[in-house]
Symmetry: C2
Subunit: 232 residues, 2 copies
DNA sequence: ATTTTTTTTTAGACAAGTCTAAAAATTGTT
DNA sequence: AACAATTTTTAGACTTGTCTAAAAAAAAAT
């Protein structure tokens, strides 16, 4: 297998789906933690053993995708970072396609995008991007990097950080699980909805909010700390 | 690798991309030759060695996708046939998407569809089918099987079998190479064009035809024997 | 009916990606 | 500083999918 992963006539490095997935995991850990990714964190993210991760880190270092020193954790090289960002771009554009064109909901599109992001093509994703109207954000509100890997960083706060009287618009989620997204659907806390904080209860950190100037809603801290709001 | 190919909680057999590709190759050989596919034919179609094919045939037989007896060639089981047809369905629907929605030409779409056909999803392809308006034929004129694997067999003749005065509409191609399809584009022999046979030259079996009642065109036998016409 | 040629299978090897169990290094705690 | 706990790496094994070289079987030719 993987015959197609050897070098082609061009000198562009071939990369397997497994390698791509590890790079993406490292990228996300680096972003989230703000520091180098250690072996256990990667194995947790990839659902593999630490031993498997060590094997893979050697391969990725050989191919110059990561900076790796034994026992020191890893960061991405420029090339590794470029590859990971391209993967995130593909993932999010496919998610837009699935939701906008095929009617999938925001809690369904992720798993399919995990497969589609590995399609190799010099320009498929750019054509798809054009077809979709060059969206800037995916169905979860996450920004879509452009071809150069740049994306707008939105200024946003977590709903649990808002004070009484604050107003804003929901622009994203931290947690991405199906269960959480379905719950948000059920209570009406979806992207682009207007949010105004009416009360904050110190006891359990729950908050009473008003949606679109209409219905009032009490939400738990577990929800509010996973919802991003752009303050008006 | 291939951790995701082990059994999931359901009892549905997991199948790798390599296995799918072999099944498709066997299916096409069975169809084209009208008999069991032998090892060399499969290795030629798959660009692998005969030894690799033998290895794979054992695996596919173990999984009950093919009927295999040493030295006797192989045919698909009901399950193998169902899988191969589903793959062809996915391939052709993706080709329609690439050409109709993303602007790829009929000589570009095949390679990308070779990747996209392996996306695993219970209903993605049906949603895509609906999104595209449930097309009956792909960009090469090949019929698209429905979910049950059935497709309309069109009654058609090769252009080189037509007689002087015969008229019809171009509905397909036998050869699918990029070079051939690009040539057809250049001379104007594309799907749905009207064709009338004006002269047949015995010497080299070339034919003079009229396209859409307008321009006349002389085409070689190498072209005419690869073009399918539905007689008016 | 032999002999020759072609096809197919076997034998043995390899890379990718995974695992478990054990060893080594690092970090935390008394 | 020494001991204990945690993290990471190594060692060895397994599966999938591929290869080359050699053996075996089938088909074709004499
Ligand atoms: Mn996602
Ligand atoms: Mn997303
Ligand atoms: Mn095709
Ligand atoms: Mn086609």
């Amino acid at each position: 297998m993987l015959k197609h992963l050897s070098f082609t006539s061009s000198n562009k490095k071939m990369i397997s789906q497994a390698e791509e997935n590890y790079l993406k995991a490292i990228y996300k850990i680096n972003e989230r933690e703000g520091k180098s990714a250690n072996t256990n964190a990667i194995s947790a993210a990839m659902n593999t053993t630490a031993a498997s991760v060590t094997d893979m880190l050697k391969r990725l270092a050989d191919k110059d995708f990561i900076h790796y020193e034994k026992y020191k954790g890893v960061t991405l090289t420029t090339e590794g970072s470029r590859t990971a960002t391209a993967l995130v771009r593909k993932h999010r554009i496919w998610e837009v396609f699935l939701c906008d064109k095929l009617g999938y909901s925001w809690d369904e599109c992720h798993d399919l995008a995990e497969q589609l992001e590995h399609i190799q093509s010099p320009d498929l994703i750019d054509r798809l991007d054009t077809f979709l109207g060059k969206p800037k954000f995916d169905p979860h509100g996450d920004p879509i990097p452009d071809r150069d890997g740049n994306y707008a960083k939105r200024q946003q706060v977590r709903l649990d950080e808002m004070l009484i009287g604050d107003r804003g618009v929901m622009v994203g989620v931290h947690e991405h699980s199906s269960a959480f997204l379905q719950h948000l659907d059920r209570v009406g806390l979806v992207l682009a909805v207007q949010v105004e904080v009416l009360e904050v209860f110190d006891f359990d950190k729950s908050v009473k909010i008003r949606l679109n100037g209409l219905q009032e809603l009490l939400i738990s801290n577990k929800v509010s700390e996973n919802v991003f709001i752009k303050i008006a």
